[in-house]
Amino acid sequence: MSDLLKDKSQRREKRTVKVPSEGSHGARGKEATVRTKDSISIVSSMDELGHHDDNARMVVTMENTYQMAPYKRFPVPAVEDILKDVLTNYLQQEKYEVEWSQKMTKTICEVIRARVKDLMIPRYKIVVLVHIGQQCGQSMQMSSRCLWDAANDTFASYSFKNSSLFGVATVYAVYFE
């Protein structure tokens, strides 16, 4: 009787351990079903469970592409044409007004981003910056400095002005390694 009880409890143990291991690793699950009679396999599968937790924490989200440089570079002249086109179309005949300028800055930003995305240059992240200001005879200076990989990353910029306002658009393109 006591032997039977011991056997039953052993079987229970085997069952409880079997379920999680099947859930975690498909391949391991198959091995566990083959070795259910062997008590040593239970211990080893629990270790592997522990291992699996470590692997879950260290999951690699991206695999190595072995790509040394971008296949397609960022076309600076094409983007400059886009900036020139957009700024001229939106600002040519306009006069500076506070609320209109606020909306127009955001709109132009989004339009430029959409058009640069349409160029479909893979693995490049884009940052678009637009400034619209009133022309009051004031003086203004804009400068920027970037810490990046000078071989792959670049920028394009265009400035527009008419009698009442000025507009500056800049696009930075950063290569994603």
């Binding site: 506070v98 995305k117 637009v130 200001g133 009051c136 203004m140 970037c146 810490l147």
Partner: protein, 114 residues
């Protein structure tokens, strides 16, 4: 392997960057009045200083720092930016500062390097 992969620290910390930028602006243009001859030096100085302070943090980011300094004449200025990037890892921060004679707008964009 566990030591090398320090895991995802989270996205760009914009508050910390904001403090760094404010401190840089104060140090360079804090007590000055707008001057046409010096503004070139100021913008270059602000941008360079911000960049070196950010790099000292030692995080795996590429940085773009932009600075615009404008004289106060009652004119209006609007700035907008739009970015196509990975929102979980990349981030930006913009700081507006002014004194009696000028406005200064500094933007920092941080793009993650895997």
């Amino acid at each position: 392997m566990e030591e090398y992969q320090n895991g995802n620290e989270g996205s760009f910390n914009s508050e910390e960057a904001e403090n760094v930028v404010k401190e840089c602006i104060e140090n360079i243009v804090g007590a000055e009045d707008y001057s046409q001859t010096q503004v070139n030096k100021w913008t270059a100085g602000i941008v360079e200083r911000c960049l070196t302070q950010l790099v000292k943090q030692g995080k795996p980011y590429k940085y773009i720092v932009t600075c615009a300094v404008m004289q106060k004449t009652g004119a209006g200025l609007h700035t907008a930016n739009s970015c196509y990037w990975d929102t979980t890892m990349d981030g930006s921060c913009t700081v507006r500062w002014e004194n009696r004679t000028m406005y200064c707008v500094v933007s920092v964009f941080a793009v993650a390097v895997v």
